[in-house]
């Protein structure tokens, strides 16, 4: 039967140098990875910066017009 022909396939040996390539691949993987602490510190810093910006925007709302006594309408003789 056709499928029995697959039984004639012999087991092959891998190249003896492959492990060196794997070790190099693992080293590259380690170099590429960002440490968890660094990732969390970056996220926390960016979030804090965003919150500070929002707080600054909220506190600065309409304060300019109050300071300079600006009229809110454009009618001159009201």
């Amino acid at each position: 039967m056709t499928l029995d022909k697959f039984k004639n396939i012999q087991k092959s040996e891998i190249s003896p140098f492959l492990f060196t390539r794997i070790e190099q691949g693992i080293r590259n993987l380690k170099d590429q990875k960002i440490p968890t602490k660094t990732a969390w510190a970056t996220v926390a810093s960016l979030s804090l910066l965003l919150l500070l910006n929002l707080a600054a925007l909220n506190s600065a709302k309409n304060t300019q017009s109050d300071t300079f006594n600006l009229s809110y309408t454009n009618l001159l003789y009201e």
Binding site: K5, F6, K7, I9, I14
Partner: protein, 175 residues
């Protein structure tokens, strides 16, 4: 010798031969084997002890082989489109040769034709034939590796067998 090196020594040929049977090219099989062991090193903490290491390794290897096969088919389609619409009539992407060191020279042509037909089957049918007939796994082991039931393995194998003989007859008819 580190633990990982001992692990590699124990399983290297199992992974390599499975890759070889899937892609039928020595260089490609070595590339996938390398990729598998790097993934294993990275995911070793995710391994759950209730599964056998070899089953887990078989799954990772098969997934890598399937991904590789899909990329190769995509490249082939792309090369075909380029050859239709491109200005020059040259093949831009090389299709790898049949280079299976486990096949003896006298049977090379016959086995190449068999593997070509096997490669035309859907992924799961091809996988079931490789596991049952080349890797000589039991139906229960195949079911565990593929994450399906034994009944599903049986029906997949029947369909694969029928499709394989149908495709072989067709290709012989064209000769």
């Amino acid at each position: 010798m580190t633990d990982f090196e001992a692990f590699y020594e124990q399983y290297k040929n199992m992974v390599f031969n499975l890759c070889l049977n899937y892609v039928q090219n020595r260089e490609d099989a070595e590339e996938i084997t390398q990729d598998v062991f790097i993934t294993v090193f990275d995911k070793l903490t995710e391994f759950r002890a209730e599964a056998k290491v070899s089953t887990w390794l078989y799954r990772i290897t098969l997934n890598r082989c399937i991904d590789f096969d899909r990329t190769r088919k995509r490249k082939k389609r792309f090369a075909f489109l380029i050859s239709i619409f491109g200005s020059k009539n040259e093949l831009l992407i090389d299709v790898p040769d049949f280079n299976h060191p486990g096949v003896i020279m006298e049977q090379r042509e016959e086995m190449k034709q068999l593997f070509d037909t096997l490669n035309q089957l859907p992924e799961r049918q091809k996988t079931v034939i490789i596991l049952l007939k080349i890797e000589e796994k039991s139906q229960a082991e195949t079911a565990l590796i593929m994450g399906i039931g034994i009944k599903a393995v049986e029906s997949l194998f029947q369909r694969a067998k029928n499709n394989l003989s149908k495709n072989l007859n067709n290709s012989e008819g064209y000769k």
